[in-house]
Each structure stands twice: as structure tokens, then as C-alpha cells.
Amino acid sequence: MSLSKLWMLAYRDLGRNRRRSILTLLSVSFGLALLIWMAGLIAGVLEDSLQNSIVFRTGHLQIRASSFEEDKLSLQSKDLLANTEDLTTRANALNEVKAAAPVLWAGVILDTLNDSASLQLYGIDTASPIYTPIQTSVVAGSFLTADDRDGILIGKLLADSLNIGAGQKVNLAIVNADGQPDEGTFTVRGLFSTGIPSYDQSSVFMPLSKAQAFTGVAGHASAIFILLKDQADTDKVAAALQGPGVSIVTWSSMNSLLINAIQAGMSFYVLLDGIVILIVAVIIANTLLMAVFERIREMGILAALGMKQRQIMQMFLLEAGILGLLGVIIGIVFGLGGVAYLATTGISIGDKMAAVAGNSFALGTTIYARFDTGQFAALSLATLFVILLAALYPARYAAHLEPVDALRS
């Protein structure tokens, strides 16, 4: 019997119990749409948090003194760069480099009358385009100027939690380059809000020259922070900047923690995918089994007419195939629609969530989905495949009924 006629039988059989067919179709569609939404959101979160981390925290590349250790934020001159102007000029001269600027980091304690917070100090080149994202996210007061001698910039979230505002004075305490405790009084010039709570809560900015004076590391910097026009040029630029006494670190090694967390998150996500696909498979198997049980005598009649086991099996697999294919198509439509919505409007996860996640993810308070076409296609194919797999048992059951038993039922 030609496949096209079996196809017609299968198609009409689906119309017999229209409500059941439609419900099954919808559960397949919804299941797949859910998978696509999750995949889109996860792709978005991962890419956004990586990009946030690159833009605000690590840059694409950093030039550091060979002995610099990131977790110590040492202020000793052997761990710092001396010829900062030279290195910055060299980096900026490269075509692939969007911006390069020296930065000085130190651990500081910020004190108000009633409260204190442990922060990371950033001594920055206020004129560099690297800090444009900070400049545009200033929500109160103003950004810093290079010659500001006592101005600092802190995150709005931090300011709110310490109950301070722009214009107010605060105390900063450090252990300086000579290992001596030191402190100074500064004025909060402005508040910024990047939308990344983990960053907004723990950073304090001041002009590089003031930071150098405050920490006692005249002329030195912790690193040259470099952003590229195209992330793909990272290795090329790294090679070009290599030199004696310095090490070049790339975004991938600086974000290895984040990337590890991403991979760990992925395995959890694969589990979720598996659960959703399993549920879809159970629904399909159940629908098909019910269809088989309702039609046992008909299987006997078809067998009496000379239909072979293989053809009966094909007929049920075709039924599953039609349900699966239609379900997957509808699922893709809903899935892409949802991703389009989530990519533009996003989901607000709130400050607290973002801050908690911020230990490993540089998350914004709103997360956006992204189109990950390869992933979506893989999920759709996997769903279709599992549906056909789930249909095998009912189809085999129908095919292997004994004609006499089927007819007697």
C-alpha cells in the first residue's frame, strides 16, 4: 500500500477524536515552545553576562605586570606597570583596539557615620571612552573630571544601602603602597546605576592621578584595560602587545569563573530539557495507546483484508508523525514569538535576584533572550525524534495483535 494512502488513513484517524488530537498537539507545541524560550533566555543571560563582565570588569585584554596577582590587588611597585603612557599609546595605535586606558585597583573601606562597606577602588582615566557606559549611567550628581581632587563616584544601590546621596562626604580607608593604613575624606560627586547590581554595590571610582596619590603609587597602574572593536581579534592583539616584563590576559581567561558557571548551569538546563521532552513523549505514547485500544477490532479487520504488520505499524507511526510535525511547527512559531518578545521586552528579575546571581554572573536586573538558531533547531529535531520513539511501542503493539483476538474483542 502506498505511503500516501496510509498517510490519508492516519490523518483521518486523527480526526476521530479531535479534542484528544488537539490537546496532544498543544502539549507538544507548548513543550517545545517552553524549550525554545528557555534556550533563548539562557543564551541571552550567558551572552549578556559575559558582555557585561567584559565591558565593566575585565575588558577584552589587559596588560599587567608579570608578577601581578589579581586576587591580591597589590600596590607594590614591582607588581604594577610603570611605563603606562607608553603601553597605552602602543595599544591605542593598533587598528583593532577601540579604546585602551590605564587603571589602578585597590581594596578600600568606605565609612559613613553609621556604616561601612568594603569596596574595590578604580582609579580611572575619566576621559577614556572605556568609561562612557559609566558616564551614561550616572543617575544623580555628575561624572568625574580628571582634575577632581576629592570627588568619587559610587553606585546608586550602594548609596541607598548606606543612606547617602550625591554631594555628601565620606571617608575612604586603605592600606597604602608602603603597607601603612591611610585615609581620606572624599565627596560623592555622583551616583551611577549600570543595572548590574553586583557591580553597582561594590565599586568606587576616582580619577587615576588622585588614586595614585591616595595609594602612594605615583605614576603606576595595575593594568592597561583594553576594549576591542571585534572580540574575535583578541588573540591577534594579545600577540602584538606581548613584551618583556608584562603579561597579556584575555577575556576568556579572566572570565573563566563565569564560563565555568555557565557550563555548570548548562548541565542543569539539559536535565530540564530532558524532563520536558520526556513529558511530551509520555503524552504522545498515551494518546497513541488510547487510539490503538479503541481500534483493536479495526486492526483485526485490516489484518483480515491483508494489511501487514509493517503497514499497521507505519500507519500509527504516521499518526504520531503528523501530530509531532504539526506540534513542532506550532511550537516553533510560539517559541520564536516568545523569544522575540523576551529579546525586546525582557524579564525583570529584580535587584536581589541579580545581586545573588552576581557572585558568578554579571547579571542585569532585566534579562533578555537571544535567538540561538542552532540550539532551537536541535531542540525541535530532538522533540520530533523522541515523539517517534515514543510512538514505537503503541505502533508495535497494534501491529503484533493476533487477528483472531483482535476480531473477537
Partner: protein
């Protein structure tokens, strides 16, 4: 040559400890073009016999030969082929495929075979005409009366031009007039096409149509009404 030969056929059903000898050492020949009634009390083995002749089931002992070929040795696929080509079935319940029209139901066994489209069309229309349902070709089973459905089933059984049509109480669910009409149609088609018919029945009015009557009792042939 006889169309069908049953040689010392025994069929035993086991239900728990209980053994039922549904057929006990039955031998029977059915010639080509016969029009034979199979009678006997309930439980005498009529349905079992038809199932064995129709290659739907295998005997525990003995041989079933169709045109001289022992079918008990065939595998499931080969038996399906044999049923499709050589045997038509008519059941007591009107065994049509509910999602197919009258036309499509009659066409179905031809689709399972390899009859070309033109030939299919001609045969289906001719058979629907022969059973008086040309105007019902596009009706689904649930849009037809029981009598009409059984006539579609008769047309379907004859579509592959089988050697033999087996009918298990074909009139049991029909009223007198419809039963008579169905029997007349089968008789006419038997004469016209030369296809043999064997029908199991309790109804004396149906038996009256038969040219030969085989009587079963307790799984044995009581009288085989052989004509020669």
C-alpha cells in the same frame, strides 16, 4: 481441483485448566464456485472453522490447503498476502473502516495490493452498482443503514476477485428484508463471478439459499452435504 482442503484439522483452545476442542479431526473440501452454508449449534466450531480456512489462525493439527498449498507453514506476512489475494471476509458486525467512505472501503483491499488506479476505479464502481449503492459512494459508514453497510462489506470482500468469500453470520444483525437482500446479492455475485462463498448461519431462511449445507456438532462434521 478443490479450492480449499482441510485435512484432519484439530483446534484446541486452552483457558486456564480447561481445554476446548473447538474442532476435532475435521476434514472438508470446498470446491471452486460453491455456495455453502455452515450450520450447527452455538459453540459447534463454525467461527473457528472459518478462521482457519481464512488463514487468520493456525490449526493445532492437520493441514489447511488453499489451491493445494499448505498454508499452515506460511509466516504472518505470507498469510497476509494470501488473505489479500484469495479470501474475502464478511462479518456479523458491519466491519467497515469508519473514517473511509463506501467507495474507499471497497477500494482498500485493492490499495493494499497493486491494482492500478483505473482498474481500481472500474472495479469499485462496478461492485457498488452490483450491491445497489452507486449513489452512496461518498457516504461514510455512519451515514448508512446497517443493510447498506453490510452490502458495502460484501462489495469490499469481492473487490480483490478472491477465490473464496467467508461470511460469519452475515445476516444476524439485519432484519428479514435486509437479510434476504444481502443473501440475494451474494447469490447473484457467486453466480456472476464464480467466487465460492461459505457462510456460517443459524437462520433457516439463509440456509435455504445454499446449494450445499455442512453441519457441525461439537467440533466434528455431522454431515458435509457434499454434492459429489
Amino acid at each position: 481441483m478443490d479450492a480449499i482442503q482441510l485435512e484432519n484439522v484439530t483446534k484446541v483452545y486452552h483457558v486456564g485448566e480447561v481445554e476446548t476442542h473447538a474442532l476435532n479431526d475435521v476434514s472438508l473440501n470446498i470446491g471452486e464456485g460453491e455456495f455453502t452454508a455452515l450450520v450447527g449449534p452455538s459453540g459447534s466450531g463454525k467461527t473457528t472453522l472459518l478462521q482457519l480456512i481464512g488463514c487468520l489462525d493456525k490449526p493445532d493439527k492437520g493441514a489447511v490447503k488453499i489451491k493445494g498449498q499448505d498454508v499452515t507453514r506460511l509466516n504472518a506476512n505470507q498469510r497476509a498476502d494470501l488473505r489479500r489475494e484469495s479470501i474475502g471476509f464478511i462479518f456479523q458486525f458491519f466491519a467497515l473502516v469508519p473514517v473511509l467512505t463506501a467507495y474507499e472501503n471497497v477500494e482498500l483491499p485493492l490499495l493494499l495490493g497493486s491494482v492500478n488506479a483505473k482498474e481500481r476505479r472500474e472495479r469499485v464502481m462496478e461492485l457498488l452498482k452490483a450491491v445497489g449503492l452507486s449513489d452512496r459512494a461518498r457516504h461514510r459508514p455512519d451515514q448508512m443503514s446497517g443493510g447498506q453497510q453490510q452490502r458495502v462489506a460484501i462489495a469490499r470482500a469481492l473487490a480483490p476477485r478472491p477465490l473464496l468469500v467467508l461470511a460469519d453470520e452475515p445476516t444476524a444483525n439485519l432484519d428479514t428484508d435486509n437479510g434476504k437482500q444481502a443473501m440475494e446479492i451474494m447469490q447473484r455475485l457467486n453466480e456472476k463471478t464464480g467466487t465460492a462463498f461459505v457462510f456460517a448461519t443459524h437462520d433457516p431462511r439463509v440456509v435455504a439459499f445454499a446449494r450445499r449445507v455442512v453441519k457441525l456438532r461439537d467440533g466434528r462434521i455431522d454431515s458435509n452435504g457434499a454434492t459429489g
